[in-house]
């Protein structure tokens, strides 16, 4: 009798133990297929043609259906995506890229070199980064069914990083789609990505569904590459331009994920048990671009005077609000990148009013009104301008602040008679040759001969150590010449339901390898 009851107790205790030790938390649970993801975006994209524009929101959406030959891993280094392998030959002048075989487009056709050639050629004609690359390219063509070849005019350090660009991406479309587009935008959004485009109703939604025949890479996910699994049946991108509505809608459960959330809501949203707050580091940095073609800021001393007066901490705090969302940094490439350097940091954040006044006098400033352009469309542009304006006026500048809508700013900044300073954000660049504020063609017209020469050298050099030295030299000249005012780096807040799992916090967001845990 005793043994039997003992045994019985043992079994009960054992079962108890087994039940209690069974993991109830969903942390280690398996990803589930199915469901719809509702993503609230900050605007209606002008298009979802991946080649067409540099607006970052276009990448956010089109990366789900469009892929490129190379992409970036989680350290922002180049890794192959649609490319299988590559060879550099003839002293760095020939890049032979072998494509993966058996990769289907959404229309069932297999991707071949003809598609790659057509797509990259188009991209090379319309994309800023593409045009830069192709200026070094002598010829680019398909060699055989799965091979393409770049022949360069000289050695170049930017081939792979250009092809891995995560903005205005060199995405691969079927040749027929490129031919059909002609000089305009593509009309069919067909790519090789894990999600298939279904429909776009402007100002209402953009719909994608899972592409069942997606040819995934085998490596584990890293950055924007590696294995991609589409767990969701459907993704809906919803344009919700008003940030207060984006927040309210996510809090009420209407949206699963929302981008570009105002940092001031951070503390309150962090406390919400149903939501996860994600700080995206890095994102962009704020710059005040001087018009160096015509006007008072053709004078270097005046630019230096403006720089001396500024207290960057106050500017960034005014621009962004919460200290978790900005950092003071004088580097033109982010801390998270291998290119980071603090060369020139003595010039940054001087907050020296006396020196500024002195430089103003030396520059011969006679009280001319400075036309300062910004937009409310991105509130940090306006806010940083307002703080900077007060600081500059305190040392004697006269500033006429013009707050316009974004379309007007974009148009006016091409006309040197219309402004003296405009404010914008510098996005993430994979390679320092793409930093727009150093470009002579870009508004602001940073046409400094020493920088131009160094940039050409940078584009042609292939070894990283040598390139890094050149880059440090460029940044040194930058902080002496002050072609633009860099205020600081800012981060953004993303919001998601706690039930959304698997999301990787990278500079741009994407939804493969993401699922909802109910």
């Amino acid at each position: 009798m005793k043994t039997k009851s003992l045994f019985f107790i043992f079994v009960v205790l054992l079962s108890f133990f087994l039940i209690l030790s069974h993991p109830t938390g969903s942390e280690a649970a398996d990803p589930k297929f199915g469901g719809t993801l509702r993503v609230a975006m900050s605007a209606e994209p002008p298009t979802i043609d991946g080649h067409w524009t540099t607006a970052t929101i276009v990448f956010t959406i089109s990366c789900h259906y469009l892929e490129s030959l190379f992409t970036l891993d989680d350290k922002y280094n180049v890794i192959p995506m649609l490319a299988e392998s590559y060879k550099i030959g003839e002293g760095g002048k020939v890049y032979t890229i072998k494509l993966r075989e058996g990769v289907p487009f959404h229309n069932g056709k297999e991707m071949t070199s003809a598609d790659v050639a057509a797509s990259i050629n188009r991209w090379g004609k319309i994309a800023t980064v593409g045009k830069r690359l192709f200026s070094q390219v002598e010829s680019f063509k398909a060699v055989d069914k799965y091979t393409v070849e770049f022949r360069l005019k000289g050695p170049s350090g930017i081939v792979l990083s250009s092809l891995a660009n995560i903005n205005q991406i060199p995405g691969i479309y079927p040749k027929e789609v490129i031919d059909e587009a002609g000089d305009g935008m593509v009309k069919q959004f067909i790519g090789t990505g894990p999600f298939k485009f279904v429909e776009r109703i402007p100002d209402r939604h953009i719909k994608f569904v899972r592409f069942d025949k997606y040819a995934s890479r085998k490596e584990a996910q890293t950055g924007f590459g590696g294995k991609k699994i589409a767990y969701f049946d459907e993704i809906l991108f919803l344009p919700v331009p008003d940030v207060a509505t984006r927040i309210a809608g996510t809090e009420s459960g209407d949206y699963d994920f929302a981008d570009w959330i105002a940092p001031d809501a951070y503390k309150r949203l962090k406390a919400n048990p149903k939501l996860d707050t994600i700080i995206v580091k890095p994102k962009e940095y704020i710059v005040g671009v001087f018009n160096k073609k015509i006007g008072p800021f053709t004078n270097k001393k005046l630019r230096q005077a403006a720089l001396a007066a500024l207290d960057m901490e106050d500017v960034m705090k005014g621009a962004v609000g919460q200290e978790e969302f900005y950092r003071l940094d004088n580097s033109l490439m982010f801390k998270e990148q291998v290119w980071w350097t603090d060369v020139g940091k003595e010039q940054y954040n001087q907050k020296n009013k006396e020196k500024a006044k002195q430089l103003l006098k030396e520059a011969g400033y006679k009280g001319e009104t400075i036309r300062w352009m910004c937009s409310m469309a991105y509130d940090w542009m306006y806010k940083s301008s307002l703080v900077a304006k007060q600081q500059l006026e305190d040392v004697g500048f006269k500033i006429d602040l013009q707050v316009l809508d974004w379309a007007s700013v974009v148009q006016r900044r091409n006309d040197p008679t219309m402004y003296d300073v405009f404010v914008t954000g510098m996005i993430f660049f994979g390679d320092p040759t793409y930093v727009l504020v150093l470009n002579c063609d870009w508004p602001g017209w940073t046409c400094i001969p020493s920088i131009d020469t160094l940039m050409d050298k940078l584009a042609q050099e292939t070894r990283f150590e040598k390139r890094f030295e050149i880059w440090k030299e460029i940044q040194k000249v930058f902080w002496d010449e002050v072609p633009v005012l860099k205020f600081g780096d800012f981060f953004i807040l993303r919001l998601k339901q706690k039930t959304v799992k698997g999301h990787k916090n990278l500079i741009e967001t994407f939804f493969w390898n993401v699922w909802i845990e109910k």
Binding site: P46, D203, R204, E251, S252, A407
Partner: protein
């Protein structure tokens, strides 16, 4: 009467022509153009020039106007630059939320306004009258957007009774649609209800002084009957007038309300089109709204003939 009608309809033509002219030139005066917006912030000026030529924006403005005008006469409002679909289709796709909101607002305005006005008039200078009239003044003075914001904070965020923003189409269910539409309609309608209440009250007061009412009363007819039969009839006139002019005000208020509540209606369409410089859509929407306004006023004027026997159209 028929002659009057025909003359009014013919008079619509110059009015619409003026609206069309004003909107076209106004919109084309706005700095910036759709080509540069479409190409994005880093396009070169030569890219923009090329696209502008493709869009026909490089032709002299007068010929662009005449082209647009002649197409419009044939019923073709053109294609939206950003939405890639014909303007008429774009407008119809977005019309439902705005129409629902306008209808509900008008219902709110009438349902609150008329009874309030009548009640005040029945007992003039009583505490009821004074309270209602204070609310009326409040209603006319309160900014619609501020009212909307406060509604959202109280009913959505604090009490969580209703969704904060957005829209659910009628096809997805009436109650769900109403849950999104109640707060915006209340914000919009409150203002108009105040107007209707005041006008109702003053017309009623005036009418109740009239001889024939006094006669009816002295004959001993029940108070209620007196009011209902005689006074109401006369109240209809100014009330219908207000409803006619309300439409114009409501459209303006609708734009702001759609922004506050993020409702994808015609108001938001116009705003985003202005920001994107989508000329055909802005022009098309304005024409639609103006046409609706003019038609509604015409209907109101015709209704006058039936409800006020003293009105004669010469």
């Amino acid at each position: 009467m028929l002659g009057y009608l025909i003359r009014r309809v013919i008079a619509l033509i110059p009015v619409m022509f003026i609206v069309a002219t004003v909107v076209f030139f106004l919109v084309h005066l706005i700095p910036g153009d759709p080509a540069s917006v479409l190409l994005g912030p880093n396009a070169t000026p030569s890219d923009v020039m090329k696209l502008r030529a493709q869009m026909g924006l490089d032709k002299p403005i007068y010929s662009q106007f005449l082209i647009w005008l002649s197409r419009t006469f044939q019923g073709n409002l053109g294609e939206s630059i950003f939405l890639g679909r014909p303007v008429t289709r774009a407008v119809f796709e977005r019309a439902e939320p705005t129409l629902v909101m306008l209808t509900l607002s008008l219902i709110v305005a009438i349902v609150i306004g008329i009874p309030a006005g009548i009640l005040s008039a029945v007992k003039p200078n009583s505490w009821l009258d004074k309270t209602l009239m204070i609310f009326a003044i409040l209603g006319v003075s309160i900014p619609t957007f501020w009212l909307g914001l406060n509604f959202i904070e109280v009913f959505s965020v604090l009490l969580n009774w209703l969704p904060a923003a957005g829209y659910s189409p009628l096809s997805s269910g009436l109650w769900k649609n109403l849950s999104y539409m109640i707060l915006p309609s209340l914000s919009l309608g409150f203002n108009q209800s105040a107007l209707i209440a005041r006008i109702c009250r003053s017309s009623m007061l005036e009418v109740m002084e009239q001889d024939y009412i006094r006669t009816a009363r002295s004959k001993g007819l029940a108070e209620r009957l007196v009011i209902l039969k005689h006074a109401l009839r006369n109240v209809l006139i100014p009330t219908v007038t207000v409803i006619g002019t309300s439409f114009a005000v409501l459209i303006g208020g609708a734009v702001v309300t759609e922004i506050v509540f993020n409702i994808p209606g015609i108001g938001l369409l116009i705003i985003s089109s202005v920001l994107r410089r989508d000329y055909p859509v802005i022009q098309g929407c304005v024409l639609f709204i103006a046409a609706a306004y003019v038609l509604i006023n015409l209907i109101v004027d015709i209704l006058y003939v039936y409800i006020d026997p003293r009105v004669k159209y010469v």
